[in-house]
């Protein structure tokens, strides 16, 4: 029985005109005099600058590999012709020209596998087998030395395939090392803890370039006489050890976030140390730190540019090599830099967006 006077009110949709675009403009750009002034100043600068940039980069630009047209347009329009002319060296390095279909196929395969690994559908046990298979195919395609594929030494590998290979392999190989080091750093055994801590603090205190120098110059001294190590492998070992130290810290952060109660519960169930780690701690810890692992991957991807200092011609090095030697195209080097900056940006930005998506997924599973 309801008293007269109380009528349940049905929900109504919000009034359509809660302001609309004008209200948004007023609130966001002209809210008070300070905001309005900065809008006018910044807006004015942008309106002056952006059309000029667009003119230079698109409208007045030279797109074909025409040296004369480029020279004529110098200053007024960008010369993207330098890319059209040199893109194969920039992207594939010193790989023999006619064989460049091989790194192309290999890179596409590797990228496809990386992207596939990111999607939920592929998170099955056979993913590991797939990885091994794709990596094997990659190496066979790049190195050759089989009937039908000519041999191409590793110092001719370069450009984008090399960047992706270095980044992927070093993260993959660094992961198990980082896991062991992270567990070791939290161990009760003083010798192991000391060694792991020493490793991490030493590596994190020095720049990557010094490790790459060490790899280049000191590695040959470390090996018994007669055994020469490929420069690619040396550099790979250097980057892997570097990445493993940072990754170990990331994993350690995840391990620390597991409440002690979990370990105690596992102990009362009779699980051993390794069983506890494998079944209880690591699954939770790793899920929590996936975004940080993605960030490490993005860092490694950018850090591969350093190998150009030790004479491996990945993307940045390949650009220098392509343009420095050619006096004709040298004045347009800046356009070349912009091109590879765009490539790096696309890769890194996509990876960071993906990492944020993963973070949201992980948080969703933890919210009630």
């Amino acid at each position: 029985m309801n008293r007269a006077g109380y009528q349940p009110i049905a929900p109504r949709p919000a009034p359509a005109d809660t302001g609309g675009p004008w209200a948004w403009l007023r609130a966001n750009l002209f809210a008070d005099w300070k905001t309005a002034t900065s809008t006018l100043v910044l807006g004015g600068l942008l309106l002056w600058f952006v059309p000029r940039l667009f003119d230079w980069a698109v409208l007045g630009a030279v797109w074909s590999a025409d040296l004369k047209a480029c020279r004529a347009a110098e200053g007024a329009g960008a010369c993207w012709g330098v890319i059209t002319e040199k893109y194969r060296i920039i992207i594939f390095g010193r790989y023999p020209f006619e064989q460049q279909w091989r790194p192309l196929v290999a890179t596409v395969l590797m990228l496809a596998m990386l992207i596939a690994s990111c999607t939920r559908a592929f998170w099955r046990p056979w993913l590991a087998v797939l990885w091994v298979a794709v990596l094997a195919v990659f190496f066979v395609l790049m190195y050759g030395n089989t009937p039908g594929l000519a041999r191409v030494e590793t110092d001719r590998w370069g450009g984008l395939p090399l960047t992706i290979l270095l980044a992927t392999l070093s993260i993959v190989m660094a992961f198990p090392i980082a896991l062991v080091v992270a567990l070791g750093r939290r161990s009760d055994l003083p010798a192991i803890r000391a060694f792991c801590t020493l490793y991490v603090e030493l590596i994190r205190g020095v720049p990557l370039i010094s490790l790459l120098f060490m790899a280049s110059f000191m590695f040959p001294l470390f090996m018994p006489q007669g055994l020469t190590i490929d420069v690619l492998i040396r550099v790979l070992v250097g980057i892997t050890l570097f990445t493993a130290a940072y990754l170990a810290e990331v994993i350690r952060g995840g391990l620390q976030a597991i409440p002690k109660g979990q370990l105690e519960a596992a102990a009362t169930l009779g699980l051993s140390y390794w069983q506890t780690q494998r079944k209880i701690v690591l699954p939770q810890a790793l899920a929590m730190v996936v975004p940080s692992i993605m960030n490490s991957f993005i860092s490694v991807f950018k850090d591969t540019s350093l190998v150009s200092i030790v004479s491996l011609y990945e993307l940045t090095g390949a650009l220098d090599m392509a343009i420095n030697a050619d006096a004709d195209w040298k004045p347009f080097k800046l356009q070349g830099y912009v091109f590879i900056a765009a490539i790096y940006f696309i890769f890194c930005f996509s990876m960071s967006r993906y990492s944020r998506w993963v973070e949201r997924q992980v948080n969703k599973s933890r919210m009630r």
């Binding site: 309801n2 008293r3 009110i9 109504r12």
Partner: protein
């Protein structure tokens, strides 16, 4: 009512485009009146009182606080906030300042009082809530009940005309609820206007002049506590009371 201190006139609020959280609210709060707002969660009771000091903005209708209509004008909002004190469920004390500094922050920086005067006033309020000996401590060094009493004292330092309480005891352990409620009951006896969102029906019975029951964004029933608790007049309020008074 002759000179209400808060007037809600057909106030409507939406979250986004779809969630109609306050529906045609008509409410008047008299000066010195003590009001308890109750209802199931999601009924909009917190949103209602947060509109009074413009922590939430209403999209339709008129809302007048102490003669001033609330709108987008920032100066009006600042003026209103100086007259309205608020106590939050999560205390929201500033952890990097001592208890005394928490209380003197607004009087010094907004009220432009000299420090000595502000500190005297703060100590008076701390004594009022019986926690003066903790003045030099940091909030995280106090228990939950103590922190909430400090929060009440902080709001009182503005010499507000209205005190708003947003579920002040919901985040407290059971043994600390009493100390906070005692302070609120004392305050109620001193003539200040209070609007309190709470589940503590004992407090409502002891102190409130009016109980307002809200559900799904509208005021379903309002009555004096005695009549509300003994003769609820709608099915909804009957159901609600059965649930919370049952245990």
């Amino acid at each position: 009512m002759s000179d209400p201190i808060v007037v809600f006139d057909k106030v409507n609020k939406w979250y986004g485009n779809d969630f109609h959280v306050l529906r045609d609210i008509d409410l008047q709060v008299g000066r010195g009146e003590r009001i308890v707002v109750c209802g199931p969660s999601g009924s909009g009771k917190s949103t209602l009182i947060r509109c009074i000091n413009r922590l939430e903005e209403h999209q339709q209708g008129r809302l007048v606080v102490d003669g001033v209509e609330l709108g987008d004008d920032v100066r009006v909002v600042d003026e209103v906030r100086k007259k309205v004190g608020m106590v939050f469920q999560q205390f929201n004390l500033f952890p990097h300042l001592t208890v005394l500094e928490n209380l003197t922050l607004s009087p010094i920086w907004v009220g432009k009082l000299p420090r000595k005067q502000a500190e005297e006033k703060a100590m008076q309020q701390l004594e009022r809530v019986r926690i003066a000996e903790q003045a030099a401590k940091y909030p995280l060094q106090l228990s939950g009940g103590q922190q909430q009493r400090v929060a009440i004292a902080r709001a009182l330092c503005l010499t507000p005309k209205i005190m708003l309480f947003d579920e002040p005891t919901s985040a407290l352990d059971p043994e600390m609820i009493k100390e906070v409620l005692d302070v609120m009951i004392e305050l109620a006896g001193q003539g200040i206007t209070m609007v309190c969102v709470t589940h503590e029906m004992g407090f409502a019975k002891a102190v409130a002049d009016r109980v307002i029951f809200m559900d799904e964004g509208q005021i379903v029933e309002q009555n004096n506590p005695h009549d509300f608790f003994s003769h609820p007049q709608t099915d909804r309020s009957r159901d609600f009371l059965a649930k919370i008074l049952g245990h």
